[in-house]
Amino acid sequence: MANLALRKLVQTYDKVTVLHGIDLEIGDGEFVVLVGPSGCGKSTTLRLIAGLEEATSGDIEIGGRVVNHLEPKERDIAMVFQNYAIYPHMTVRRNIGFGLRSSTLSRPEKDARIEEVAKILDMQDLLARKPSQLSGGQRQRVAIGRAMVRDPAVFLFDEPLSNLDAQLRTQMRLEIKKLHQRVGTTIVFVTHDQVEAMTMADRIVIMKDGVIQQVGTPAEVYHAPANTFVATFIGAPSMNMLPAVGTDEGIRLASGQEVALERGPGAGRGVTLGVRPDDLHEGKGVPILGGTVAVREPLGPETLIYVDVDGSEVIAKADGRVPPEVGARVELCARPEDLHVFDATTGEAI
């Protein structure tokens, strides 16, 4: 087990810079998820930590030791790949044991380790099988087993759940989280799925275009997004973004609706008001806007309503049993603490 630090990490391929100085401290035993759209540099960051690629500049520290020029095997890490990278011609036992090929343990010690890992992952009776005889979730477990058997200081996961179907993904998500609670090893997990990030992480690192946008607990990034990118990326459906102007008391929306705020952006400043569909309802709180219901999406416990407001569309939540009719006029309100104000030009939270 070890902490992990990235300092001013820059990666450039043929004059294209994909990482612009990544600084990140990960504590011992922490579960950190790197999340962002494709091309944001999250996988590159992981590959740099693993040592599969060498950084153009910057330092990587694992357990207080700078590992920039060390081979992957010397870094005391293990990695689980998106396509599992388990060998189709080897049995599960040999696949898991492959992680121990270079270790100095004796034969019986290695066997004991393999058995132990198989027990933790509940697949003792699968050891003699070939990967082709396993289901997707079982293959995933073999890949995790191969990483675990080496007892590394840091686990790296590169989108390990994206090849699984939705139900299995939810299940494996839980299993990995449980595993982390049991073994307590530091984990860096890469995904493009914000739900995975929210549900699993101790801390989330949101990246875009090779720059970290925000680092925080799931609650922090959800309730206090640092900028419009984080605000729209985290949470589904996406946060509504409404153009507005600062006034003496608060802000004025494009529709002319005035919204009083405790800490206003200052008169005349161009801003964006962000409000999550979950926080936007009929009735309670500060009135934000009114419009006609264009489409309804019943989800069971609640109904998403797409409200047409002066030509733009806003998503809000309505009651699951008696939602407003399509074409009906609704007045939408939100609590003041659920309103997010961003600068219109920089996108930064105010």
Binding site: L52, K73, M79, A85, P88, H89, R101, S102, R146
Partner: protein
């Protein structure tokens, strides 16, 4: 009438419409001559005269013919030397070429070029290489460093390997391309996972790359074995003065068939040899498929 057929029947009609041409082609160009050859192997025929039934006589003659046994042995020497040598060389080249970025396309083209070259032209160029001083390239090189001359094509021991070398070389390009395609099909993450596990390159080669190339290797082994068992043009063109010589040292089965048929006009005897060759090809191919079958 066509209108009243069910969808399934219409599909069958169309399938047969397209299959008719290859079926006809195979019947006329492949199956009929094959059957005919088997028939002729039990007859006596000089190509122009009447065919007369002789039963097993051609086969008995074959078994008692010392030249046939010499040729039989030569054919297997071509196979046993040629297949593994070309397999190893082409794998080594493909393995390294796959890792190379610089001039990759150009080098691949260089290796593929001999495969596209006519065997006749190639055989004659190699024949020139093998000539004694002052003509031959190899002997000139040897002479310049003071090593005695080697009688490449005129020695009964050296001639077969000398003929085999250009045949191996000619087939390399094709095998390299197939190997490279096989190497490309192995996911990169397999190698990355192995790097993280810290195993040696040697282990990666033997435990990951080669086992995953199994189907590629089966294909190349079967394909090149059939090629070496049917070797003819290289031998014929490199030993034209005395085809298959010296003293039948390089003569393969196909060349013996050719001579029996078109030098001696003994069609029945030639046909009996083709039947034997066919059985050998069949047995070798089945044996290889069995030995290299997927263990899954």
């Amino acid at each position: 009438m066509y209108r009243n057929l069910s969808i399934r029947q219409k599909q069958i009609v169309w399938a047969w419409a397209f299959l008719a041409v290859p079926v006809l082609f195979y019947s006329v160009i492949r199956f009929y001559p094959t059957g005919n050859a088997i028939l002729i192997s039990f007859q006596d025929w000089n190509l122009l005269g009447k065919r007369t039934w002789t039963g097993w006589e051609n086969y008995i003659k074959l078994v008692n013919d010392p030249v046939f046994w010499k040729v039989f042995k030569n054919t297997f020497v071509y196979l046993i030397l040629g297949t593994p040598i070309s397999l190893v060389i082409s794998f080594v080249i493909a393995y390294h070429l796959d890792k190379l970025r610089f001039m990759h396309g150009f080098l691949r083209m260089l290796y593929f070029l001999p495969f596209m070259t006519s065997a006749v032209a190639m055989a004659w160029v190699w024949r020139w290489f093998y000539q004694p001083v002052p003509i031959g390239l190899f002997n000139n090189l040897l002479a310049s460093v003071g090593i005695p001359q080697i009688a490449f094509l005129n020695s009964t021991t050296n001639a077969l390997p000398s003929v085999l070398a250009p045949a191996v070389w000619a087939g390399l390009g094709f095998q390299i391309i197939i190997f490279m395609a096989g190497l490309r099909a192995i996911p990169r993450s397999y190698y990355e996972a192995a790097r993280i596990d810290g195993v040696s390159n040697w282990t990666v080669l033997w435990e990951i790359t080669i086992p995953l190339l199994r189907s590629t290797i089966v294909f190349i082994v079967v394909f090149s074995s059939i090629g070496f068992l049917r070797i003819f043009d290289h031998v014929f063109n490199m030993t034209t003065n005395n085809p298959g010589g010296p003293l039948n040292a390089t003569k393969p089965l196909v060349l013996m068939i050719y001579e029996s048929a078109f030098t001696n006009y003994d069609m029945g005897y030639a046909a009996a040899q083709t039947v034997v060759l066919f059985l050998i090809l069949l047995a070798v191919s089945l044996l290889q498929l069995y030995l290299l079958r997927d263990s899954k």
